[in-house]
């Protein structure tokens, strides 16, 4: 086990917005961990992930990657170690699948962005690992949501990161698609030692597949642990239960009250 991520008394949110979205989070993650971040809408999943990715600065505290403060990292250095996959659906005029995947190599290329044979080989391998080789040659915008997510994951794999951060990427997929993507990511964590952070609304699957769960309770707190431990402590129910539905600790799923 090697320490990868360390969150130290971290508060995230938006300056001037009053309350931080999350406050006082301290935890550690290891190399090869497949982590699912769960919590209700607005609990701060995206804000937390953007902060860890270095896309926004912490309100207080710090995130360190192998001992280095992420907020203080040079952007070019950070880009070699952290890859992100986001949900935002933007059109990408004229980009081919290869263009998208090879963008994962951009932090490693020279000033002109010249891709070497090695870069292309890594990009090809990434496409294969993500099960997206069949899409090569096609326009990225022509792909379905699921196909596009695979290409974006391939792009992240091609970036050969230490930490991979994926925000709600399974939202548009059907159940088999979600399972496939999640086991693909778990394999990436196991085989490459990448620390994979995935936020998901899919509580059942997350509890079943993740090595560790980060549970956002919706009131600024975060509980970290193995799924069984969080369930046994009744924390899942406290974070998710409403007047209508309740989480059953025995059956590991929601039931109507």
């Amino acid at each position: 086990m090697a320490l990868m991520l360390r969150l130290d008394d971290l508060s995230v949110g938006y300056p001037g917005a009053g309350q931080p979205v999350l406050a006082g989070v301290s935890l550690e993650s290891q190399r090869g961990d497949f982590i699912c971040i769960v919590g209700r809408n607005g609990a701060g999943k995206s804000t937390l992930m953007r902060t860890i990715a270095g896309l926004q600065v912490p309100l207080a505290g710090s995130v360190a990657l192998e001992g280095e403060d992420i907020a203080a990292m040079h952007p070019a250095v950070r880009a070699r170690r952290i890859a992100v996959v986001l949900t935002e659906r933007r059109f990408s005029p004229g980009l081919k699948v290869e263009d998208v995947v090879s963008l994962g190599r951009q932090p490693f290329t020279n000033w002109r962005g010249r891709l070497t044979d090695d870069d292309w080989r890594i990009a090809d391998d990434a496409l294969k690992q993500a099960g997206a080789s069949a899409f090569s040659g096609r326009y990225f915008d022509d792909l379905s949501d699921g196909e596009r997510q695979r290409v974006l994951i391939a792009r992240a794999i091609a970036q050969t990161p230490s930490v991979m951060i994926l925000d709600e990427i399974t939202a548009f997929l059907d159940l088999p698609g979600r399972v496939e993507i999640m086991s693909l990511l778990r394999r990436q964590a196991r085989e490459e030692g990448t620390c994979v952070l995935l936020s998901s609304h899919d509580l059942d699957l997350s509890l079943e597949l993740a090595d560790r769960i980060w549970l956002l309770d919706g009131s600024g707190g975060l509980a970290e642990g193995r799924a069984e431990a969080l369930i046994a402590a009744g924390r899942i129910g406290r974070a998710f239960d409403t007047d209508e539905v309740v989480f059953s600790n025995d059956r590991k799923r929601f039931e109507l009250r």
């Binding site: 270095g54 059109f91 004229g94 090879s102 963008l103 951009q106 915008d141 022509d142």
Partner: protein, 349 residues
């Protein structure tokens, strides 16, 4: 397993073919016109080995500046088109379609009018320093329009932005005409009569004022090509790839202004070239990576501009053909095809 080599070959072959076509067209344009020369004569005149002073004068003093201007301006607009389509994330963006050219003209017109009303001293200053002053005035107009359109582009869709850009262009052109009308009355008829585009009107002493900013623009464009590619995927991805997006935007915008301002200052509003050259470049490269597109779009833009100019300067009996008319006939149907069929526009419709 490695399909990397064909990609490079394809890029080199396309660039080479375009460069060859450009060279052939340039030789044709130097040799043929109102007075027809043979290609060997034209080449001899270029090399200074021709004895006939008349031939040398036609080729070197009349045709060469025009051909050179067309190549420079077309190449600049092609590269600017690539930059703008990435910057605006809009497949129909270009200096002409988003009103930057008209904005630049308006900047020049304002400067001329102001000088005319300020008095003869200001006007003669402007006349003496015509090259730099109209380039700077055009750059100011182009910059303001570009910044305005970038701001607007964040709020409205790509096609709406195109329509707004065209309307803005008409407005600025109308205002330019009105301004020049009154400026002419006040005795400031310095730069009147360039509501149409032409590559023929650049005085040889002004050629450096055309070429130097374009040179700077090309260097900046090459410098921004790598990070700009990642911006095609969206701002968040670009940042996650280590790109400082605001700085990149400023640099790409500066490059665009340097490329576009001298063209509008000396050639007027050259339509369509910058809009369609990037699409040809993408089709030829089989990719949207900016570093691969720049040489192809530059060569394609130059080829298109020179072809339009060559058609205008055929030995017609009468001279009513305008460059923009030719470019519209070539360009507008292409834009229609792009809007209807191009994969690059899919999703925007």
């Amino acid at each position: 397993m490695n399909d990397h080599a064909p990609r490079v070959t394809r890029l080199l072959a396309s660039s080479f073919a375009l460069a060859l076509a450009l060279l052939a067209l340039a030789l044709y344009a130097l040799a043929f016109g109102q007075i027809s020369l043979s290609v060997p004569d034209a080449v001899a005149a270029l090399l200074g080995t021709h004895t006939d002073a008349m031939t040398t004068q036609i080729v070197v003093e009349i045709r060469l500046p025009r051909v050179g201007t067309a190549i420079l301006a077309g190449g600049a607009l092609g590269i600017a088109g690539v930059l703008m389509q990435a910057l605006f994330r809009n497949p129909v963006a270009d200096a002409w379609s988003l009103g930057l050219l008209a904005g630049g003209q308006f900047g020049v017109a304002l400067t001329v009018a102001a000088a005319a009303f300020a008095g003869p001293a200001a006007l003669s200053f402007l006349t003496v320093f015509a090259g730099p002053s109209i380039t700077v005035a055009a750059a100011a107009g182009v910059s303001l329009t570009a910044v305005f359109m970038l701001g607007l582009g964040r709020r409205i869709g790509a096609i709406t932005l195109l329509v707004v850009g065209l309307m803005l262009g008409f407005t600025a052109q109308g205002l330019t005409s009105v301004l020049l009308h009154f400026a002419a009355r006040a005795g400031g008829r310095v730069y009147g009569g360039w509501s149409d585009a032409s590559f023929a009107g650049v005085a040889p002493e002004n050629l450096p004022w055309l070429a130097a900013p374009i040179g700077v623009g090309v260097v900046l464009a090459i410098a921004t090509a790598k990070p700009l590619t990642s911006l095609l995927l969206g701002e968040a991805y670009a940042r996650s790839l280590g790109v400082r997006v605001p700085a990149l935007r400023r640099l790409a915008l500066t490059a665009t202004v340097m490329l576009v301002a001298p063209v509008v200052a000396f050639c007027g509003p050259v339509s369509f070239v910058g809009l369609i050259a990037p699409h040809f470049a993408r089709a030829l490269a089989g990719s949207a990576r900016i570093p691969a597109l720049l040489p192809l779009a530059a060569l394609g833009g130059a080829l298109l501009a020179l072809a339009g100019d060559a058609i205008v300067h055929q030995p017609w009996e009468q001279h009513f053909l305008h460059l923009n008319a030719i470019l519209a006939i070539l360009g507008a149907p292409t834009v229609i095809l792009i809007l209807v069929f191009s994969p690059a526009v899919r999703g925007w419709r």
